[in-house]
Amino acid sequence: MNTNDFLEANFRDIHSYEDLFASNRRDFLKRVGGGIVVFVAINDLLFGQEEVRRPRGGRLPSDFNAFLRIGEDGRVTCFTGKIEMGQGIITSLPQMLAEELDTPLDTVDIVMGDTDLCPWDAGTFGSMTTRMFGPALRAAAAEARAVLLELAADALKVPQTQLVAKGGVISDQQDPKNKISYGQLAKGQKIERHVEAKPPLKDPTQFKISGQSHTRRDGEAKVTGKAHYAADIRVPGMLYAKILRPPAHGAKLKSVDTAPAKAIDGVQVIQDGDLVAVLHQFPDVAEVALGKIKAEWDTPAATYDDKTVFDHLINVAPEARVVRGGQGGDLDAGMKSAAKKFDSTYLNSYVAHSPMEPHAALCQIEGDKATVWASTQNPFGARDQIAGAIGFSAEKVRVITPFVGGGFGGKTNNQEAVEAARLAKAAGKPVQVMWSREEEFFYDTFRPAAVVKISSGVDAAGKMAFWDYDVYFAGERGAAQFYTVPNHRTASRGSGFGGPASAHPFATGAWRAPGNNTNTFARESQIDIMAAGAGIDPVEFRLNNLSDERMIRVLKAAAEKFGWKPAKGPSKRGYGVACGIDADTYVAAIAEVAVDKAKGTVQVKRVVCAQDMAVIINPEGAKIQMEGCVTMGLGYALMEEVHFKDGKVLDTNYDTYELPRFSWVPEIETVLIENNDTKVRQGGGGEPAIILMGALVANGIYDATGARLFQLPMTPERIKAALQKA
C-alpha cells in the first residue's frame, strides 16, 4: 500500500480546469472554446450598494463579478470568488442559477474561490452571498436564458413568444416535438454577453427549484473523508513547517539558537527576518525539532488584562460619532417627560472564532508562478498579500480555496498563507503551514471586547421617552435604534475592526455578525429593563414601542409559535425575548431557561426563533443556519471569554476555553416568514439569529430569578454575583 492509494482526489482533480488558467475575461474566452458565457457586474445591478463599501481589499471592480458558462455538453458552470465554509452556498447558488435558467439542478456545477478561474470577489463574509451576489447571479442566469431563447427561435424557426424553456430544453408550445437542448444550442457558439440592465427575474411565488429544500451538495464528500481542506492537499516533495512563536504579543526576539533543531535528520531551518521555521517531511518531526530551538525574548509589560480592559477601552476611546439616522428629537425634553429612567453599562468580552479547522496553507512555486491552497474567506485578498510578501505580481499567484472548515470572520487575515509562501520561496520546495490550536488561540483576530452605555426612559403610558446610547469598540452594526422613540441619540466610539492601534492587546476583527452581538445584547437587555420597570410584559412592551411592520410580524410569529402568555417580569417562568436586525434580515426569538441558583449555571431548554430574510432560496438551509446561530451563540452568551495578561493569551486550548456542546443544545424551533415582496432588500442568513443570544439568555435569567446580568459571558461566577444583588 502506498501513499497514492489513499489520495483519491485533491482539489486540482475536483476542479479539473487546469487548462483554464485565465484571470481575465479575454483569456477566459480564448481558452474556454465554445459555449455561451454571460458576465455580470454587481455594481450595475444592485441596490443596497452602500452596504459593501467597506470590504477589505478595496472597491468592487467595474468589470464583472460573476459569470456562468453553458457548455456544449449542456452543463452550466458558475464561477464565483465566494467560498464554502459550511454556510451552504455550494447548494443555494446552483439552486438560484438553475431556477432562473430553467435547467435541472444536477446540470449545474460551481467553481469557487480559485483566483485564476473566478472573477474578483471581496470575500465571503457579512452574509453578503445571498443578498448581494445572489441577485447578480440570478440576473446572469436570466440573461443566459434570454440568449438561449433567441438562438432557439432561429434554430426552431418559430417566434420567441411561442417558445417555452424547461429542464434545459426549449420547445415550441404548438409543436412540442420541435425542440432543442441547451447543449445543442451552445454547440459551435462563441457568444459573450454582458448583463447591461437588470433582466426580469422570476417571481419567487413561481419558484420550482429555489424555495425548495435541498440537502447539501457536498454531503457525500464530507461524510466519506473525501472533502479536502487546505491542510489535506499533498504535492510531491512538500515539507511541513512549524514556526517559532513569541510567548506574548509585543515580544521581540532577542536571540535564537537553531543548532539543536538542525541536528535532527531531515530538518531544514529557515530564518527569514522575523520568520524562523523548521521544515520536515513529517509535521510531527518538525514540531519536535521546533521544541529544540532555544530563543530569548524581550517582553514588554502590559498595563491591563482581561479584568481591567473595559476601563482601558473607555480611556483610549476616540470621540463619539453619531451613527446614520442616530439622532432625533430633544434628549433633555425626553428626560423631563420620562416617568422612569434607567442607566446601564454593558460589557462584552473578547471571544475566539475557533473554527474546528485551524488556519492552513500550502504553497508550491513552479518557475515564476506560485500556487497556494489556503483556508481563507477572501482568496483574492490572500493572493494580493502573498504577491506582496514574496515579490510576485498578483497574476503570478494563484490561490485555490478548498473546503474551509469554518471561518466566522476569522479567516480573512491570511497570515498562514503568507507564511507558507515565504517559506516555500526560501526553501525552494512546496511548504505547508498548519497552525496548532495554540497558535490559533494566539493569532486569532478576536471579537473585540466592548462597552455599551445606555441612558433611557419610559413615560407613564409605557412608551419610550428617550434613548441615549454609546457603544465603545463594537462598531455600528446593529446599533441603530429601530424602536419608536421621539428623543434619541446613538453614537459609536472606536472601530469594531481593531483601531486605534493601542486599543487591544492583540488582533481583533469581524466575528459572525460583527458588533451586532454586543449591540443587540445591550439594546435588548435595556428594553427588558424598561419593560420590567414599567410593569409591562416584555413582548407587549416591545410591540407598544415598535412601528416597523416587519419587526412586529417577526416578533409576533415567535411569540405565537412559543405560546407566549403575557406576564410582567420577573415571572419566574424563565422566559426571555429578544429581537434585532442584521444583514437586512429581521429576527426575533423567545427562550425558556432554567437557572441552578446554587451552581450559577443555566440550561437553555427551548428556543423559538423567527426570521424574515425576504426571498428564501433553500428553506432547510436557512433553518440550519438559524440553528447554528442559536447553538454557537450559546457559547458567547454563557462561557466563551479570552483571558489574557501581559500580552499572553491565557486560554491556549479547549481545556479552559469552552465551546457549546451537545448537552447545552436546547430544543430549537425555527420559523421562516414568507416575504416575497421584491421591493424589500434581500437579507442574509448566515449571521442574523446569532445576535439575539446574549440578551435572549440574559432576559430569560432575569425572568427566572430577578437577577440582571450586564456582562457577557454569563458565567456561573457572574450569575451567582448577580443573584446576590437581586
Binding site: M1, T3, N4, F6, L7, M85, G86, Q87, G88, T215, R216, G219, E220, A221, K222, V223, T224, G225, K226, H228, Y229, A231, D232, R234, Y240, Q281, F282, P283, D284, S354, P355, M356, E357, P358, F403, V404, G405, G406, F408, S436, R437, E620, G621, I624, E627, G628, C629, V630, T631, M632, N653, Y654, D655, L659, P660, R661, F662, S663, V665, I668
Partner: protein, 158 residues
Amino acid sequence: MTDKIAFKLNDKPVQLDVDGERPLLWVLRTDLGLTGTKYGCGAGFCGGCTVLINQRATRSCLLKIKDVKDKEVVTIEGLAKDGKLHPLQKAFMEHDGMQCGFCTPGMILTGVSLLKFNPQPTEQEIHSGLENNFCRCGAHVRIVQAMRQAAAEMKGAH
C-alpha cells in the same frame, strides 16, 4: 530509528517501517495520506482526530503508532463497505448533519462506535456519547437527528 509495525487499516494489512513513537494521527495523515482524520486541538479535547481501534472510538492525536500494532484501525475512508455507505454516513447526508464538515469524520466514527456498543441509545445517551466532539458551526440538532435515524435503521442488524 524505525520499527516494523503491522496492523490492519481499513480492512487491509499494512506494515510500516516507522519510528514507533510518532503520533498515529500524523502517520495516518502524512505517511498514509488518510487526510479524512483531522487535527483539531492535538490534546484530545475536540474529537476531530477520532478513529476506530478494534471498533472503539479513539483519539488518534493521543496515540503513538506503536500503540496500534496488531490492531484493527478504521478511518473515515474505510467506513463504507464495497461502495456502500454506513447507515450513519447516509443519515448525516440526509439530515445535513454537517456544515463545514471538518468535525464530521470524527463525529461519525464516534457515533458508529456509540451505536456499536449501545445500538438503541436514548436522547441523553446520544448527547453524552458525542459530548466531547466539538462542532463549531452548530450542526448539533441535525447530528442528533442523524443518529436517531441510523439507530432506527440499524435495529436488528446487531
